[in-house]
Symmetry: C2
């Protein structure tokens, strides 16, 4: 018997029950038009994910309850699987409801709560118990699971004799995640000899980027369908007509798309449209500028170029050329005179005239932030912070200066990754001027300054940094050898600059060791690996 | 048979194993001198608490292992109970070791992991199982428990026949906590008919303030000993000579002491000594200034008074008088000329001349932050942020302006609580000038501006705000009535300004609804209780 299944890879907004219900009802309507037998929505499709402490608002649950009644009624001729949080016996559960013919046939409760890296589900949810009953539908037997459940299949797969395991997810992207996910699903299908129907949400929530890629995998691990990544899609599939296909592998295009989606959703879901940023003539702000243009359109991006006496001609040329290529507004507003006035004022009122070299560098960065925030306030344009992960790790940035910004699109990319992504972006058309790509990195806060005056070269720094961050964000029992001087120096800088990172804007997450979301460190501590 | 017990209420530093071991060894030496039979240290005394992801550093555990060997050897004539994290069978546990005669007699694993409000123990630790064996020592039977275990006694009290339940804690202060704790302990002693020997740590770790108050309670709920609050103490008690006493109740003095300790430990444990702040002539900065002087001494506090055209005479008089009374350095540095130059520059480069009233107000706050941060950088003096909880909730503050600062000492106090604490502080001597206490609150960023131009009066706002924050940080199934327009307006402001709070410095926690530490909200969401 053939069955028609609709995968509804939607982009819910957090807490926006009415809007999400509308998205869901539209998808149901489309599925009914195609005579679908079953439609499947992602985890917490009704509310968005992760709700964090918003889940404690009592009114939210009344709202969810009303929306569920509407959905149950809509399940007259079509089975609906949808995710939502629910209070049952004074406990909060992360639920997947199976609705059909106006009834709740099953309300599955997520068992394997995710509580490492960026996840905090145990704070919010209680864990459900394994399911014993499968659901008969159109001659097939189905069972339900939610997201992380399939990562702990040996604990969560119940004793049902289902042929089809449905997994509804809100699973965020990070580099390498797609391969991990595919392996997990293939192992599961082969071990338990079930089809897996996986439906993931798409869209971004603060720093998390949900990447979609819903899929159907057979018991022998063959992929029968794979939805696009980073896009919504409502797709009705006639099961018997599906043919084996090769799954897409992750490329740099995915990383770029992830960042575009992450940035766009942050702006749009906060009911804004415009952004601004400082264009320095360096590669970081150039890449952020491209991301912003692709996320919001050139008409919504304004760049400020704020040269000082230390700004080179190449910076001005680079910034100008980039803004011309991207067709964005560039406001040129030198800080030289203002900086001089501030310097005179401050050095007059401060008796201490020694060790003012770094404070004066910070002052330039903060003066630029002050100008950018004025623009941001006047134009209602969110300020983007252009720092990368290497800088943030080493504290090579100024608090309330270049760290200022509501969102930091590339703060989870090392400088090496920034270069790689910029080079990929330039493959077909030169969007970022070659002079920006090829120049030596400099903060241009002092004469002839280069990043390598204060930091190791990024080729040396970045691989060691990534290794340290990976080791320091999970239980690691590997016998530690003595750290190299470079490793110790990086660990020390990581420690000393934690306070800055904890005051940064939202960081778009592309790794499992992103600052703040994944890596949760004290500010005050006294331990450096030796 | 009489037994001598030493309560070692120490102040460990996070990750500082050598220093903590030294503190512990000194206390052991003192206890041995007094012929003590048993010395008890707090939870995670060897490492500090909470370790957060620092606990994943492999080298830390090698270091702990060495320190434990030293402690086990030191237990030749004295039983030692001490807390530390330990990896057992590839899982991390929060342990309490009982060492005697050079052996580990028991290694108890914390069962009830705290994972609400400011706690995230489940991210780090695995839960232990109930204990079946008590420990015989000097003719008495003891069992061990760790902190939150006694808050879930029905699950964690094992089947041992111990007469004495030892509880080692790292339990942070909040207003009302002392009474809660006393009630929990008394109920426990009476229900299970055991003595409870409770040893809490003291000192602050980032925003958390551990308050000490170690105590011994008899099976009928009588207090036999209570250690001081907010101070370290190593106290050897001869059990048979203890007499019933009345426990101290919490007063405003405790709140003040908590904040002083929280501020001092943050500065000192980060190996700094000096702070600076902007003195506006208002009550918030006046109170923070008193706290800083009491935490660090007047020689380590510098205030900057930065008047503009909108600054009243009373502000200058108030700031001057306060700094004279407190004997701190006051740097007067008007921002009028700089503000004019900035305004000219910015309004020239921005075509949009409408809606610049708020941006210009923010600009003043940011200019002051820029001056303060220059001072902070030159003098190596940490900047204190003087905002209160009411302002932070309503967004009545400027990001990168008055929100700037490494630590925000009064950001968990409503304006009402700020007034109450300031009045209490002035009871014996007038430290805060009466003119500051009595004037109407104003940001002085526009002519004749008052807080009440934009906000409800604090007498109206604060109780409603506290109610909302309490309701929104725990599972709340109370039937919600329709919210009043004021409640809705506050919820809306809370939502709109979440992004600012997530970029604030460390907030000293004095409630169970402190921003960031307890209340964990998304920035992007669309739900307001109705």
């Amino acid at each position: 018997m053939n069955i028609k299944i609709t995968l509804a890879q939607i982009n819910p907004e957090l807490g926006e029950i009415d809007g999400n219900l509308n998205q869901i009802l539209h998808a149901i309507e489309a599925a009914k038009t195609k005579a679908s037998d079953l439609i499947i929505f992602p985890e917490c499709a009704l509310t968005g994910y992760p709700l964090k402490d918003l889940v404690f608002q009592a009114g939210l649950h009344k709202h969810i309850e009303c929306a569920l009644q509407t959905l149950i009624q809509a399940s007259d001729t079509l089975a609906i699987v949808v995710g939502y949080p629910k209070i049952i016996d004074h406990q909060m559960y992360n639920c997947a409801g199976w609705f059909f013919k106006g009834c709740i046939l099953q309300e599955y409760r997520k068992q394997a709560l995710a509580n490492t890296t960026c996840f905090d589900e145990i704070r919010i949810f209680k864990s459900g118990s394994p399911q014993t009953d499968s659901i008969e539908h159109c001659g097939h037997r189905f069972s339900l699971s939610i997201c992380h459940d399939i990562w702990e299949a040996q604990k969560t797969i119940g004793t049902t004799h289902a042929d089809y395991l449905i997994n509804i997810s809100a699973s965020p992207f990070h580099r390498g995640k797609r391969l991990q996910r595919t392996q997990i699903i293939q192992t599961l299908t082969q071990t338990y000899q079930k089809h897996v129907i996986y439906v993931n949400s798409v869209g971004a929530q603060d720093g998390l980027i949900f990447d979609g890629g819903s899929q159907i995998i057979t018991p022998d691990g063959t992929c029968l369908y794979e939805a696009p990544y980073f896009e919504t899609q409502i797709k009705t599939l006639s099961f018997n007509t599906l043919k084996p296909l090769t799954q897409c592998i992750e490329t740099r295009a995915d990383l770029y798309q992830a960042l575009v989606l992450g940035l766009r959703d942050y702006i749009i879901k906060n009911n804004l449209s415009k952004v601004c940023l400082g264009l320095s003539g360096g590669i970081d702000s150039a890449l952020v500028c491209c991301l912003a243009v692709d996320a919001l359109g050139p008409e919504n991006v304004t760049a400020l170029f704020m040269p000082s006496d230390y700004t080179s001609n190449i910076s001005e040329q680079g910034a100008t050329q980039l803004s011309n290529t991207l067709q964005i507004q560039l406001i040129k507003t030198p800080i030289t005179a203002l900086f001089k006035q501030l310097k005179t004022h401050l050095t007059a009122s401060e008796s201490d005239q020694e060790n003012i070299s770094i404070p004066l560098q910070n002052l330039q960065a903060r003066l630029r932030a002050l100008i950018l925030m004025y623009h941001s306030n006047v134009q209602n344009a969110l300020l983007l912070s252009c720092g990368n992960k290497s800088e943030l790790a080493m504290g090579y940035c100024t608090l309330y200066g270049d760290l200022a910004g509501a969102i930091a699109p590339i703060a989870d990319l090392t400088k090496t990754q920034v270069y790689e992504l910029a080079q990929w972006l330039n493959q077909t058309t030169e969007r970022i001027p070659t002079m920006i790509l090829e120049r030596a990195p400099s903060a241009e806060l002092a004469p002839h300054q280069l990043d390598t005056d204060d930091l190791p070269s990024y080729q040396v720094l970045d691989p060691v940094l990534e290794l340290i961050l990976r080791q320091q964000t999970e239980l690691n029992e590997i016998e530690t050898s003595t750290q190299t001087p470079l490793e110790q120096a990086i660990s020390k800088k990581l420690k000393e600059n934690e306070f800055k990172r904890q005051q940064s804007g939202v960081i778009l997450r592309i790794s499992e060791s992103s600052f703040n979301l994944d890596r949760r460190y004290p500010i005050t501590y006294n331990h450096i690996e030796k």
